[in-house]
């Protein structure tokens, strides 16, 4: 009789996966992706942003599969993203084309067009609403609320058309208070197609930050704000709204705005932070100038977008704090990379450990230099 290999690993994996499926199903109810899409917009926004893949239906499915664990959801979406060939590149998206649903400025009380609070939990009290339990018992409660609300809008003639407004920053620029830059029309480097090299380009930095894990980007932005960095921002403008995406007609020489196809729109949060900075004048004196920190991400992820705008500025300026160190920031904010490497510690390491053990034993046996 021949010796055969033990098939322990294969079986163990099979059983473990069954157990996982059991945990998902054991309470007798599963969540519909439609329910996720209508009830978990916040999670959908977060994972689309971290996955850098804009697809609400796919995000909902991944949320269902990963049982709502954001790091697993992002992982699923990113892995799927790897398999997608790049068929088209969109035309440059101009963010002042955004159809706004929310727009605030912390720097000016009155901005032309006014502050639009839109949908935001900012001024809600974070008290758990036990009444929400009631709507589960009586599906007419939400329906009644909706009907009343829509009627109210109609009576007050509040138009639901999307709003387009010029940017707050443009006023400051016109006054010559903001640092001005030539529009940079160079093709951005795609960090998913070409490895990051240092010193990095701004296009690479912005991509990595916008794909960053919400918590990681927030933590580093916070660290900079609190003392480990020299950037002190004011939110010039925070916008949430829809941006139209267009592509040039494929297989056609004709390009340009007129010829472009509209292929849909994405909902984004965009933040322009104003950050004062000392600049040297030709006479050798210093004067203050306002510079910009830019943050943008898929969906409504306001904290992340603000933190991103801080880190964007940090990485533009030299500084001692780690938040100004591009390798420190850019190498450590990615969800898939961070969670993957931390979790790999669960893998067996007994060969390397055996090797370490041997080394420790050798030194224990003694043997000083000379």
């Amino acid at each position: 009789m021949a010796y055969v290999a033990v098939k322990g690993g294969q079986e163990a994996i099979g059983e473990s996966l069954k157990r996982l499926e059991y945990e998902r199903l054991k309470k007798g109810r599963t969540i519909e992706t439609r329910a996720i899409e209508s009830g978990l917009q916040g999670l959908i926004d977060q994972v689309m942003s971290e996955a850098s893949l804009y697809d609400e239906a796919l995000a909902a499915l991944a949320i269902k599969q990963a049982q709502g664990n954001p790091e697993e959801v992002v992982f699923l979406l990113r892995a799927f993203r790897s398999t997608l060939p790049r068929k088209y590149y969109s035309r440059t998206v101009e963010s002042h084309e955004m159809a706004l649903t929310r727009r605030i400025s912390a720097s000016f009380k009155d901005i032309p067009g006014g502050q639009i609070l839109g949908a935001s939990p900012d001024y809600s009290h974070r008290l758990i609403d036990f009444d929400l339990k009631r709507e589960e018992a009586d599906p007419f409660i939400p329906k009644r609320w909706l009907k009343a609300y829509l009627k109210e809008i109609e009576e007050n003639e509040v138009w639901e058309t999307p709003l387009k407004y010029p940017k707050v920053m443009d006023y400051l620029r016109r006054e010559g208070l903001m640092a001005t830059y030539e529009a940079d029309e160079t093709e951005p480097e795609d960090v998913t197609k070409e490895a990051l090299k240092f010193p990095s380009k701004r296009s690479q930095r912005l991509q990595i930050l916008t794909r960053g894990q919400t918590g990681a980007v927030t933590a580093l932005g916070y660290a900079s704000l609190r003392g480990y960095g020299s950037v002190h921002p004011t939110v010039g403008e925070l916008r949430v709204g829809e941006l139209p995406i267009t592509i040039d007609p494929p297989f056609s020489e004709e390009t340009g705005e007129e010829e472009a196809y509209y292929i849909g729109s994405i909902r984004v949060t965009e933040v322009e932070s104003i950050i004062p900075r000392a600049v040297k004048t030709p006479s050798g004196d210093y004067e203050e100038e306002l510079d910009l920190g830019y943050g943008i991400c898929y969906g409504q992820n306001e904290t992340k977008a603000i933190a991103m705008s801080i880190l964007d500025r940090c990485l533009e300026e030299p500084g001692e704090a780690p938040t100004h160190d591009e390798e420190f920031v850019l190498y450590h904010v990615d969800s898939v990379e961070a969670t993957g490497f931390i979790s790999h510690l669960k893998l067996p390491h007994y060969v390397t450990f055996q090797s370490k053990l041997d080394s420790v034993r050798k030194t224990k046996k003694g043997g000083e230099t000379q």
Partner: protein
Amino acid sequence: MPEVTQEKVLVVKNLTKQFGEGCEKCRKNPEVLIRNYCPHCQTIYATREVSFDLYRGEILGIVGESGSGKSTLVRTLYFDQEASAGEAFLNDYGEGRADILKVSSQQKRYLRDYLLGMVYQNPFLGLKMKFSALSNVAEKLIAAGGRHVGTMTQRAHDLLDVVTIEDYRRKDAPENFSGGMQQRVQIAKALSNNPPVLFLDEVTTGLDLSVQANVLDLIKEIQRDLGISMVIVSHDLGVIRMLADRTLVMLDGRVIETGLTDQILEDPQHPYTQKLVQSLL
């Protein structure tokens, strides 16, 4: 005292280091500069066309106030900063005919590892604070191709003897040492490859007076015993007086006076040097 010969070990010609591009105005007409600074384009001329020779076995002092360009000068020669213009030649490299400021970064590393030594004011620049004193001294030997632990350890012990680091501290990391000890380890490290030229940048600044005296004695002793040519930079004319055979006085990036140290002390020519000497008395 070893003989100071007429053999030049280091020749520096018109060394300039500027921070900024320079503009029409300051390039054509240096008079527009405020000290070493161009008000039109904000360029700082840290050193301006500095030339000097270093003879074998001598200690050359460079004195000047902070911002005069003296530290920039030695750091440029040790390749910590890139020179903007000028030439430098080492007698022991390329038959003294290769401009060491223009060689490849590999060659610059070679020069640092084999032919030059540097002691910084801040020991953090010169030492790996978390590695043992022995490893620190051996680092240059390793960089210069040393592959025999026994030989390198012996050399490190010998040099740590010279700078009087106690035996029982040698496996400790300099981060646990006092400032004076760190400075002595740095000197041992700089000497490890027996470099023909050693740069010392404000090595006693920031040390207690008694420790200062020890370190100065040590440098003097090393120079006497090993005959290494040294360029010693200090804002303190007292240090220069004690050590240097010849002295350059720098102001605003320029050499304003040069001569035998005694001569400069006795008969300073430039008003700035006169002020400096007066303050010493």
